[in-house]
Symmetry: C3
Subunit: 150 residues, 3 copies
């Protein structure tokens, strides 16, 4: 069991550390631009950092959910690599958004693409598991046999 | 293992796709009502779409957490059906809220009820597992025996 | 399997109930201070309750993720106890923030410390599992042997 998930666990811990880093940046930005809680509005420099962190936080559970679904139902290796790419994209997004609203776009599209890859392989993995469990059909094996015959 | 969770995995992928759909609606609303990021205020039409998506995102991790807890500790079938009902309720909520603040209420109450069902059966499932693991008492089996004797 | 996670399941259900309680407090505050949705601004009393709930919701998936990672890869007992402490800290934070912006600080620092403990032991657990699975080295056992020899 653990050997099928330890890579996912490692990326998960990294992801939590990244979220902690983003949260600390908001605290620093609150001090720098004098925006005490509960206020969430202030100079654009503060609002960009705040929104960058809010956006990353909003996507964090979606990312963790789909990475584990892909890892458990399809492939831990592929899923962990996508997870690392996503976290890298989110880091670039946070840096870019902190600098300018425009700067968030390229890494945002990159992160979104990685999520779509995880969604696609999760869907495939769940579908193949569904066929195996409920229809007793192993599509991957059938595909392999068909290719062997050809 | 996979056969006990493939239904939960399928509902999970559906849930992530629904969140992706909501996120896209916010992007379209930003363009339509000319509200560039990082701003989150604008005409009420935009704010309703924004808040609808924010509310669904906020509840997404709670939903995923409790659906899996209910599915693992109580019943995958019941949990998956509740999951589908919740996602349907959230879709109606998003449509209703986009149209009017009033329109969000009925589907919101429906989604909340489904969450309470998941919480109730999660609690029951965890309690029964607790009795089985730590007290070595299988309450369901005892109940069955008692009914047989009666 | 279930016996390794039933404690985590119990804390998870408690955590979801706590989030439900926070959400209800926001609904009551909206009525009390006449702040109908989709608006999220109003008197400071309302904004503090709103931000308290938003902050707890934002951290909920991070908490659940790291508690389960720590529980699965390191120790269910330690992780469940930390989970209870975190939920208690968050309850004090919500009460404190509802009363004053200053009142949120002490329980916020406490919750953050509990999260760091969970992150530290998750990292350790994932690292030890990694060594065991991929390097075939059981560091804990080696440490035990070294201590026996000494």
């Amino acid at each position: 069991m653990l050997e099928d998930t330890v890579g996912l666990g490692a990326v998960t811990v990294l992801g939590v550390l990244e979220q902690a880093y983003f949260s600390l940046q908001v605290i620093y930005a609150r001090r720098k631009y004098s925006v005490p809680p509960p206020s969430t509005t202030g100079p654009p420099e503060f609002e960009r950092v705040f929104r960058a962190q809010a956006n990353c936080s909003e996507y964090f559970p979606i990312f963790i959910t789909i990475m584990w679904t892909c890892g458990v139902f399809f492939s831990q290796g592929l899923s962990s690599v996508c997870g690392l790419l996503y976290l890298y994209g989110r880091f670039r997004y946070f840096q870019g958004y902190s600098a300018s609203a425009q700067g968030r776009l390229a890494p945002l599209y990159f992160s979104a693409k990685v999520l779509w890859v995880l969604i696609a392989f999760s869907s495939l993995g769940v579908f193949l598991s569904f066929c195996r469990v409920y229809l007793n059909v192993d599509l991957l094996q059938r595909l392999g046999s068909a290719l062997d015959l050809a």
